[in-house]
């Protein structure tokens, strides 16, 4: 299981890129030109999220260097520790369902402080990748057809998020060790 997940990770990207480009070539697509055309969007995408990154990194930076983060982690540590969750990733878990760009900022800061190749870094990465911006997606989809009543969507979406977070912690501990 451990070996499978590790080699799957290593092979996924090269296999995926070769498959997509090969398929495009066989279908008669000018793969190089189409690639370049799509790549242009990289710049505009980053420019679009940059203000959010500044806002969130500044807020988290202030919160951490003032000592407030230490205090919060110390308060939350007993409860989080009982569930096996590193308290350092709790801010990410709280922000993830609310805002995609804000949680990108929080993850970037966690990776910078604790390093990407640590238990905290890997767990936070897995949490980020395995869940979605639940509130945002629900409001866009329901809003597009004019519904205000969300019935059980938020409850089910949050159950999915919490499951994703719990499994992220467990599977990272299993594969990479704490």
């Amino acid at each position: 299981m451990t070996v499978v997940l590790k080699s799957l990770s290593q092979l996924a990207i090269p296999l995926f890129i070769v498959f997509v480009l090969g398929y495009g070539f066989l279908k008669g697509i000018p793969v190089y030109e189409v690639f370049v055309e799509g790549a242009k969007e990289g710049f505009t995408t980053v420019i679009r999220i940059l203000p959010y990154l500044v806002a969130m990194l500044v807020a988290i930076g202030v919160f951490r260097s003032s000592g407030a983060m230490e205090l919060m982690i110390r308060i939350l540590a007993p409860a989080a520790g009982r569930l096996g969750i590193p308290p350092e990733v709790l801010p990410l878990a709280l922000m993830r369902p609310l805002s995609g760009s804000a949680s990108i900022g929080i993850l970037a800061e966690l990776l910078k402080i604790y390093g990407p190749d640590t238990f905290i870094g890997r767990t936070a990465s897995t949490m980020m990748g395995s869940t979605e911006t639940t509130f945002y997606a629900a409001s866009i989809y329901l809003g597009s057809v004019g519904h205000r009543d969300s019935r059980y969507i938020l409850a089910a979406g949050l159950i999915a998020d919490i499951t994703g977070f719990a499994v992220s912690v467990a599977v990272c501990a299993l594969i990479f060790g704490r």
Partner: protein, 195 residues
């Protein structure tokens, strides 16, 4: 939702500066604010290259018809999840394309497809005042989307100097499958209580 983000952001900044007064770290906290703003822009520049790479690959997947081809194979699975929606309806087509686009991390392509799926589902919705069970389950699937390659996370990890930026693909896939399964199960159970 907007409101909550505003509150959290304000608490982080105001609470941070307030705490700095008590801990006597006011000067370094102000410095941290400026350093973080600078780091955000450095990080943004580091991300441009990796984003461009993925968006280029994804454009090829879209243009070559790969997304359409794969979504055709989704029908049997979707038939089980959405028994009320006819297999060959435009709603089913848009839903399967949306799910595949999400799997490939094509956020920009997935959202318009999802919205057109919602509009098609609304046409066959018997109670126009509230979302049908199919609409709810479809939205839940989108709030717990299964992404094969988490490109943004890999980009952030590589910008942070990781020796194995992609090593979280396996763990992410395991977590996201469990999360999606939990979301679907919760939606199927909860719908009995929201008749």
């Amino acid at each position: 939702m907007r409101y909550l983000v505003n509150i959290i952001w304000l608490i982080l900044i105001a609470g941070g500066f307030l705490a700095a007064v008590f801990t006597g770290r006011l000067e370094q906290t102000v410095q941290a604010a400026f350093d973080s703003a600078k780091y955000a822009v450095e990080l943004g520049f580091a991300l441009i290259g990796i984003y461009s790479l993925w968006l280029g690959i994804m454009r090829v997947a879209e243009k070559s018809g790969l997304v359409k081809a794969v979504s055709g194979r989704m029908a049997p699975l979707l038939k089980i999840l959405f028994p009320d929606v006819p297999v060959r309806s435009p709603a089913m087509g848009a839903m399967s394309m949306n799910i595949i686009a999400n799997m490939l991390g094509l956020g920009n392509a997935a959202t318009p497809l999802g919205i057109s799926a919602m509009k098609e589902l609304q046409k066959v919705n018997r109670n126009k005042g509230a979302p049908s069970d199919a609409m709810c389950l479809f939205t839940v699937l989108n709030t717990a989307s299964v992404q094969i390659i988490p490109t943004t996370v890999i980009a952030l990890r590589s910008a942070a100097g990781s020796t194995g930026p992609a090593e979280i693909i396996g763990t992410t896939l395991a977590a996201t499958i469990c999360s999606a399964a939990a979301g679907i199960t919760a939606a199927l159970i909860l719908k009995r209580f929201y008749q």
